[in-house]
């Protein structure tokens, strides 16, 4: 089962992810692009499942699909005109150039790397992940959370209008 089922799943997921990724670029409607993005995120989550990293797969769905794309949708909705128009920009050509360069680098890396197959990898459980995050790597973890909190506060400060400041001063 392992070989065949996983292979089929891999190819299906790969096709879904790539087609969805292409859809993000091609679709004229910004909302459709976001919906394609969701699909590609779900495909990536599927890859994590294939790699037996269920926790990361679930985190991928919760964070990327459940939260980030919803925020993007929100931004799309609240931006005037953007929801209806994903028109071309003057950056199309430089963007394409950059994409080609990136693709070249990636292809080179993929081609150049010595891909090793690990026969009996240690099965990483969620407990191990937790121990690693809050044990070995607790300092980077905490720094990251402090950074995120700072970003949160900063975002709130940036979006506050003068009126709200005045309201708060009164309250």
């Amino acid at each position: 089962m392992d070989g065949f089922g996983v292979t089929v799943a891999f190819w299906i997921l790969a096709a879904v992810t790539l087609v969805a990724g292409g859809g993000v670029m091609v679709s004229r409607n910004l909302l459709h692009a976001v919906l394609f993005l969701i699909l590609s995120f779900i495909g990536v989550a599927g890859f994590f499942v294939l790699l037996s990293a269920e926790f990361i797969a679930m985190a991928q769905v919760i964070i990327y699909v459940g939260a980030i794309t919803v925020l993007i949708l929100f931004a799309v909705l609240l931006t005037p005109r953007a929801s209806r128009d994903n028109s071309e920009t003057v950056w199309a050509l430089p963007g394409m150039l950059l994409a080609v360069c990136l693709a070249a680098i990636f292809l080179f890396v993929v081609h150049d790397t010595q891909w090793k197959t690990v026969t009996d990898a240690p099965l990483l459980t969620t407990q191990d992940l937790g121990h690693a995050l809050l044990g070995t790597w607790v300092l980077p973890f905490e720094i990251a959370s402090v950074l995120l909190t700072a970003a949160l506060v900063g975002a709130i400060m940036l979006t506050r209008s003068a009126e709200e400041e005045a309201e708060d001063a009164l309250a």
């Binding site: 609240l78 005037p80 940036l158 979006t159 506050r160 209008s161 003068a162």
Partner: protein, 369 residues
């Protein structure tokens, strides 16, 4: 900070087909996000040209029309019109007729306030439960109307000079039953709603109507009393012998939707009190003065006003000695109460606008006539 995120205001039509406009009424609200920045009332969807039609019919024939203006309080409308016609023609009503009229008008107030309170709770989102409970109580009152006048909604019971029929034997026990049932029901509603934090936070401070605005916009009824103004035509300009009954005028604190709601509930208690007194001291004797069918009042004009469940309901009649009124005009309380809607809704959210509209307690039939 220059980069403030601003959303474009857009126009949203609340109505004419909308679950919370209590009929075919429309608010053209300009909203900025959820905030209402402008509200324009559009009415006339239910215009039936009643005032003009009435000029073609005799004074008695006009009584059924009045049923159909404010269809939730037909008795009160009958009463207002009959008072105006009696004033025009100089007809005296016997004491029993007056007492029956008072009982009917107060029962109608109970029924109408049941509806108002329930629909208001529905507007705040209490999913049908308060309105169903209110309907349950209202049904009992409508049953009384059915026994007395033969109709439940458009009773057509009052006549110029009195009432159409005398009371049936079944009437008194039915009324006593309603009077016994209602105070516990009002308590129940208070437990369900006034003690409910969600309801309070939805209605307190929403649609605040200052006493100045309330008087300047010539509002009346629970809207006016909610703003802390003690004004009730039953006290200020008594008719039908209201001066002999002992009751209080409930007034609110700050004029918000919540105050209007508790004022209505308290008015129901006061109505129960009035009906009790009227029923206990119900005089015997004739219930109607005989009036010629084709009444031709002398030339002149008359304006009679009563405290309908929604406020000051006035009927203005002009006679040219013909069998039909030369001019027939209604002062509809809903219509005039509605004029303060813009002041109350602008600045709030769409959800608040619905609550405010519910707290006004409009009947579109009366607004458009």
């Amino acid at each position: 900070m220059t980069g403030v995120i601003k959303s474009e205001p857009f126009v949203i039509n609340i109505g004419p087909q909308h679950p919370s406009t209590h009929g075919v009424f429309r608010i053209r609200a300009t909203v900025d996000g959820e905030k209402v920045v402008d509200a324009e009332m559009v009415m006339g969807y239910l215009h039936r040209s009643m005032e003009k039609l009435a000029e073609e019919r005799t004074y008695t024939q006009n009584i059924p029309f009045t049923d159909r203006t404010d269809y939730l309080s037909s008795m009160s409308n009958n009463l207002g019109y009959c008072l105006a016609a009696e004033k025009l023609a100089g007809i005296e009503v016997p004491a029993r007729g007056d007492a029956i009229r008072v009982i009917m008008a107060e029962l109608q107030r109970l029924a109408s306030h049941c509806m108002a309170v329930g629909a208001f709770a529905n507007d705040t989102g209490a999913w049908q439960t308060p309105v169903m409970w209110c309907f349950r109580e209202r049904e009992k009152i409508l049953d009384i109307f059915e026994v007395t006048s033969g109709a439940r909604l458009t009773c057509n019971y009052m006549r110029i000079g009195g009432v159409a029929f005398d009371l049936r034997p079944a009437f008194e026990p039915m009324v006593r039953k309603v009077l016994a049932d209602l105070p516990p029901f009002i308590e129940e509603m208070e437990q369900l709603l006034t003690g409910n934090e969600i309801f309070v936070s939805r209605t307190r401070g929403i649609g605040v109507l200052s006493p100045e605005l309330a008087t300047n916009a010539s509002l009346s009824g629970p809207m006016l009393r909610g703003s802390g103004i003690a004004w009730d035509l039953r006290k200020a300009d008594p008719y039908c012998g209201y001066e002999q009954y002992d009751f209080d005028i409930p007034i609110g604190y700050q004029g918000d939707s919540y105050d209007r709601f508790i004022v209505r509930l308290e008015e129901m208690r006061q109505s129960v009190k009035i009906i009790q007194q009227a029923l206990d001291g119900l005089p015997s004797g004739p219930f109607r003065t005989e009036v010629p069918l084709a009444l031709r009042p002398q030339k002149g004009e008359a304006y009679a006003r009563i405290e309908s469940p929604r406020g000051e309901l006035g009927y203005y009649l002009v006679s040219d000695e013909g069998p039909a009124p030369y001019r027939f005009h209604i002062r509809p309380p809903s219509f005039i109460n509605l004029s303060a809607l813009k002041e109350m809704t602008v600045g709030g959210t769409v959800a608040d606008a619905i609550v405010v509209l519910g707290s006004i307690d409009i009947v579109v039939g009366e607004i458009d006539r």
